[in-house]
């Protein structure tokens, strides 16, 4: 129940940020003929699954942790809740590619800059359908380029196991956000890292292994 006070002032760090560093996208990859025009990201697409992760957020050297919960509630929309370890809700919203609705937010987190950052991150994380315009390859991955408004997403799919390993969200010249997935079966990601290149923010999600014996 202590939720609120504990990590909240760390959040102020979110407010102090927004510095732009350069991380130019050096695409030394070999262009390749398109082998598909659409791609479906698998990791948050099942409406029957409760996606529950331990979340660790590092922002300018400060740590914030809690539980990240996502569930697909209809064809287009996910419900996302972030709680403390004690279960207190910090943030509860519904997000699709075109809509965003906050159900509840603690006042300490209610900052436009933070909300917009998280909205962008989670929209990318939960996005399922990609239209592919170009394709590249390197030694280990097929790389699909998909337009995302004025920006682009590069999807790295391993050649060997056809798993989605990584998504890089870029502006024309710079990498903005990188998502790295670790998955055993390409259905479910056990570990996810969300790394920002232009601000010092990293979100790490580790899947909750469900308890075998749910006694009461």
């Amino acid at each position: 129940m202590q939720k609120s006070t504990i990590p909240f002032f760390l959040i102020n760090c979110f407010l102090a940020l927004i510095l732009v560093s350069c991380g130019s996208v050096s695409k030394n990859y070999t262009p390749k003929k398109l082998d598909k025009t659409t791609y479906e990201a698998p990791y948050f697409s099942d409406s029957k699954t409760d996606y529950v992760y331990k979340a660790n957020i590092t922002v300018y050297g400060n740590e914030l942790s809690g539980i990240f919960i996502a569930k697909k509630i209809n064809d287009t929309t996910h419900r996302v809740v972030f709680t403390t370890e004690f279960g207190n809700k910090l943030l509860d919203f519904e997000i699709s590619e075109t809509s965003f609705k906050i159900n509840s937010i603690v006042s300490e987190l209610d900052r436009k800059i933070l909300i917009n950052t998280l909205k962008e991150d989670f929209r990318l994380l939960l996005k399922k359908d990609y239209l592919i315009q170009e394709q590249f390859e390197n030694e280990s991955n097929d790389i699909y380029k998909s337009k995302d408004g004025k920006r682009d997403n590069y999807l790295y799919v391993s050649k060997k196991e056809e798993k989605l390993d990584k998504i890089i969200h870029t502006s024309k010249r710079k990498e903005k956000i990188t998502l790295i997935f670790s998955s055993e079966n390409n259905i479910f990601a056990e570990k996810i890292q969300i790394i920002h290149q232009n601000i010092n923010l990293k979100i790490e999600l580790n899947y909750f292994k469900p308890e075998e014996n749910t006694s009461n």
Binding site: S4, P7, E63, S65, E85, F208, E211
Partner: protein
Amino acid sequence: MKTKIALLILFISGSLLAQEQKMSAAEIAAFKEDVNVVSKKIKTLSTDFVQYKHLDFLSKDIETSGKMNFKEPNLLQWQYKKPYNYSIVFKNGKILINDEGKKSAVDIGNSKIFARINKLIIGSVSGNMFDDKEFTISYFKLKGQNLAKFIPKDATLKKYIKQIELTFDKEEATVVQVKLLESSEDYTRIVLKNKVINAKIDDSVFSN
């Protein structure tokens, strides 16, 4: 036929109500006295717990579990062991966190909200939080158990917790379940098990 249905509804609702019966003034006084006697004797307390986070849109509650240690006057450790190791210690105006070996400390000084939270956790576990200034309290009888419902009066606290429900074992007058309601649909339910009162707990437990 209609009468039969009406009777059936009456019977069903009657039996539902019977599960949670309001206490009389005399019963409330006796119950509070029992709890106060027990909680006054508590110098240390350790208990296993299982936490069920219920969110209405999920198909299953999120289950975490671990151990809680308390030592008078205000040392408190709340330690999750499954499915991850996460421990939080409240000690001398500080919160010490150990998250899978990653340690951090937060100085909260003389924060009033901290004092209140600390008191709330200890009160929840020991059962002694019958403070009419802080809460609007109602009392109920269940089968073999007593139930007290606390609605915070403080606006800040109320933003986070709509209601706290403590379930007591009738015989032992100790808390067996804590339920924190955020809204009508979403709550955290903590079941306390294997409670040990006044065993020796070394101070080093609270160093995190």
